[in-house]
């Protein structure tokens, strides 16, 4: 999806930023670092660094030792940038963000969507965080259930079997059994 959006961005003057939450990286994936990463991607795609960003950077340097970014400061800079063009933000695995941070992230994404009218935000996550998303984003959010498709499972299995490192022990019958049995249980577990 991101690749499709990026392809379109070349033709249609849009911007794309993404983020992948990972529970193993929960310490460094703070709200400031996460939102700052989205902003950094948008800034990186511009011909020059926006004045608002340069000014914030220079102002924080006046404090001894420098001042770290804050969520409110990032959101202000976001508004000056995302407000100028169609912007797509994609966030994966919201459930892997620690709960306290998740609230801040959802609040912030909601604010971005409200203030930058041409911004579109896509979030993926396990179903147990759906109620939090509903509560924080309310009527501004639509939902789509992701389930493995039969074609997807078969295609994945074919690819795996094609690259089997021990093809000498594979037979047509065994391959057939694998395809059939995994396809049957796959709709609940595998892609």
């Amino acid at each position: 999806m991101i690749d499709k959006l990026c392809d379109e961005a070349v033709e249609e003057d849009t911007a794309v930023a993404c983020f992948y939450f990972d529970f193993a990286a929960r310490t460094e994936q703070s709200p400031v670092n996460m939102l700052g990463s989205l902003l950094r991607q948008l800034v990186s795609g511009m011909e020059g660094i926006p004045e608002a960003v340069v000014r914030s950077f220079r102002n924080q340097k006046k404090v001894i030792g420098g001042r770290g970014l804050q969520v409110s400061g990032i959101l202000k800079m976001f508004q000056t940038i995302a407000g100028t063009k169609r912007t797509f933000i994609c966030v994966d695995a919201l459930d892997e963000c620690v709960p306290e941070n998740r609230m801040v992230i959802l609040e912030s994404l909601g604010q971005i969507a409200r203030e930058s009218l041409d911004t579109r935000i896509l979030v993926t996550g396990r179903s147990h965080v759906r109620s939090e998303v509903e509560r924080k984003l309310g009527g501004a959010v639509a939902f789509l259930l992701i389930e493995p498709t039969g074609d997807g499972i078969i295609g994945y299995l074919r690819e795996k079997l094609k690259n089997d490192t021990t093809p000498e022990i594979m037979s047509g019958a065994l391959e057939g059994d694998i395809m059939e049995s995994i396809s049957q249980i796959g709709s609940e577990t595998y892609v």
Partner: protein, 102 residues
């Protein structure tokens, strides 16, 4: 070590497409200044994870999403035409392929 702006790997965007007429930008910063500012914004590099997932994904996996009404409304809708859902939440069980649709 400083990194030149043109070598930045942390962007999904094509710089030449930006319309600078709508935002005031600084075009006279040195590459070193620009690198410092970008590093100040965030040390994280989600592009690495995106490339890892892309390398493992079959081309056709997840393409059905693009044809759904929910995605189309999210992607092409606007506040003016009444499709006022700027956010799309894609939920599913563990292993359903959520990361691979990205």
């Amino acid at each position: 070590m400083s990194q030149g702006f043109s070598n930045n790997q942390n962007s999904f965007n094509t710089r030449s497409t930006f319309n600078s007429s709508t935002t005031n930008t600084f075009n006279y910063l040195t590459p070193d200044d620009e690198s410092k500012i970008l590093a100040w914004l965030s040390p994280l590099e989600p592009g690495v994870r995106h490339r890892d997932i892309g390398a493992q994904r079959l081309d056709s996996i997840g393409s059905w999403i693009l044809e759904t009404q929910e995605f189309r409304r999210w992607h092409g809708g606007s506040r003016e035409d009444g499709t006022n859902h700027p956010t799309l939440f894609c939920d599913g069980n563990p292993g359903a392929g959520k990361s691979y649709i990205m």
